[in-house]
């Protein structure tokens, strides 16, 4: 991917808090990342690490309240999505940024035909007539590999299988030719063979259409096969960020290392048991002032309790937020 080009999406210090009965939950803590044109950025982390909330915060899809986006800057081209008025955000959603969600069984409206749901953003954002939108919808369904597309426009979501519905969701997300596609665990609810088909489809579409993709998942195998760059999230923060090969070859953060060890290997000696990371991810009731991973970390030392580490570069395009790693680097040098 071109390194010098201007990013399509540039997020700085995004901070999202949920106000709940039990007090505040700091779900996204000063997350910064960028997305280059045509790049596929994988976002990994366990449940509750803030992956989805970060992406939903970008574009105002979280219900406010209880969510409260406290700070940060989300630049899409030259618009700051965080401070943009609601109409501007609506104009971006579905047009410049497309979404695919996790569960295709419930993400489509059961009472409208698939065709009308694909045509909705076309008519809204592109100002197409019904006839134009129909033609485009047929084209889109063919693009995502649904046979007999024209006839299937009149079908309802329940007449499609899970994998087919996810294809429809992708068609909706791609309807207006977005610059960015955000896919929030799009294959998690599908069985493995269908998962592979969807992955192939996305790879293929990326080649054809060239949009940038943010792919949220907790499946490292998926990331390895599809991403250009990976961002690892923990406790609402980005703890490590690197090109995909670099990350798998030289994981730095103790959490990333532990995460990679949990992946079972097909070759080599059989392990007695699968590796696990002991403990639970934290629920942050305040802005973190110490490392969020310290309770589960095997390399913990005094500084981890005193100060939340900032991300520092450790290689080309590779940065990590860990006192221990930075100390080790310094010791090497």
């Amino acid at each position: 991917m071109p390194d010098g080009a201007l990013p399509v999406l540039d997020v700085k210090d995004l901070k999202t808090v949920f106000r709940t009965r039990g007090g505040e939950v700091h779900a996204v803590n000063n997350v910064s990342f960028h997305l280059q044109p045509g790049e596929l950025l994988g976002v990994v982390g366990e449940s509750g690490s803030g992956k989805s909330v970060t992406m939903m915060s970008l574009i105002g899809l979280l219900p406010q309240p209880p969510a409260d986006i406290r700070g940060g800057q989300v630049m899409l081209g030259d618009i700051d999505l965080r401070t943009a008025p609601a109409e501007v955000l609506r104009g971006v959603r579905g047009k410049r940024i497309g979404f695919v969600f996790q569960d295709p069984m419930t993400s489509l409206n059961p009472v409208f035909t698939v065709g009308s749901q694909i045509m909705e953003p076309l008519r809204l954002h592109m100002g197409m007539t019904k006839a134009q939108a129909t033609e485009r919808a047929v084209e889109l369904l063919e693009l995502v590999g649904i046979p007999d597309a024209r006839k299937r426009l009149k079908s309802y979501p329940h007449q499609f299988s899970g994998g087919m519905r996810q294809r429809v969701m992708i068609a909706i997300a791609l309807a207006c030719d977005p610059e960015v596609l955000i896919a929030d665990e799009p294959t998690t609810a599908l069985d493995v063979t269908i998962q592979a088909q969807i992955l192939e489809l996305v790879k293929d579409l990326r080649k054809k259409l060239g949009m940038a993709i943010i792919w949220i998942t907790h499946d490292l195998g998926v990331i390895a096969g599809i991403a250009d760059r990976v961002m690892v999230m923990y406790g609402g923060q980005v703890v490590e960020q690197a090109p995909v090969k670099d990350l798998f070859a030289r994981p730095q953060h103790p959490y990333t290392r532990a995460l990679l060890k949990t992946v079972p290997h097909l070759t080599g000696a059989r392990q007695a048991r699968l590796q696990v990371i002991e403990g639970q991810p934290p629920i942050l009731t305040a802005h973190p002032t110490a490392c969020a991973f310290r309770a589960r970390c095997t390399h913990r030392f005094e500084r981890c309790d005193a100060e939340n580490p900032l991300r520092r570069p450790v290689g080309h395009g590779h940065d990590v937020a860990c006192h221990w790693v930075v100390n080790a680097e310094v010791a090497h040098a």
Binding site: L61, G91, R93, F99, D103, N109, P110, F112, E120
Partner: protein, 335 residues
Amino acid sequence: MITFILRRLLLAIPTLLFISLMIFLIVDLAPGSPASQIPLTVPPEVKAKILEQMGVNDPMPVRYALWLRQFFIVEPAYWIDSLFGTTLSEGQQRIVSWQFRGPVMDVILERIPQTLMVVGSAYLVGVLIALPIGIYSAYRQYSAFDQVGSFVAMLGFSVPTFFTGVLISYIFAIKLGWFPTVYDTTLKVTDWESFVKQLRQMAMPVMVLALANAATISRFMRSSMLENMTQDYVRTARAKGLSERTVVLKHVLRNSLISVVTVIAIGIPSIFGGAIVTENIFKVNGIGSALINAINVSDLPMVQTIVFIFAILVVLFNLIADVLYGLLDPRIRYD
């Protein structure tokens, strides 16, 4: 769909026959005799003859069979005759009211317009105010509007109509004198003035019944909206960039209406049956008050027929509700 409707209609026949038998048995058990309506000055022999002629003394199965024949054969034949000038029902006895000594059906048909006018418009008003209230309360859950709406709805279905009826009558008719206390059945709407008069006399019963209806329906609407508001497809709709208005009034509402429309359809027969108390308070000469009077004077054919018509309406509107459900929800197919 057609086969489904036909099958349901066929199944309704045994159901209705069974209901009619139940009604007949229960009504027959009720104490009181039509003899009490004959003046005391009438000599006992004459009285016995009158009762004999009315068929009061016939055994129960005979009377039931006669009623069945009259209801399902003679009455339809009579209507066919009066429409096409045929003579199918000639010499046949229609269902006769013991109190009026005239055909029961004539009385019922005379009463139904009053009921439809007052109770029907109350139901319509109730639905029309309930839907927007339910939608907005759900959209702004726990807002001041929602709290007030919930409070009024609680009042609406916890305070019985015989209480709100008397209360409203006391405030608006007696204290303020805005509306007449008694509904004038003979009023004919011919011009603007009589139309206003009609509106004024309808105002109170409509208010009372509309409050009760709106209370239930708005709660249904609200909870149905709330249930759908948190669905994943709503997030999808927002992610497409649709306006809040389209998201709520198209995507959420269309799904929420499925259950609400069926509730509304099932409630329609209660227009006829449920308004008995209100009709009596405001002296509306409708079908409900006809039933109450018939019970008071032991007019068994009248009671039997009116209650059975209610039963037909209940069965019919249940079928209509099911059909609507199938039409509104593409996931449901009746074949």
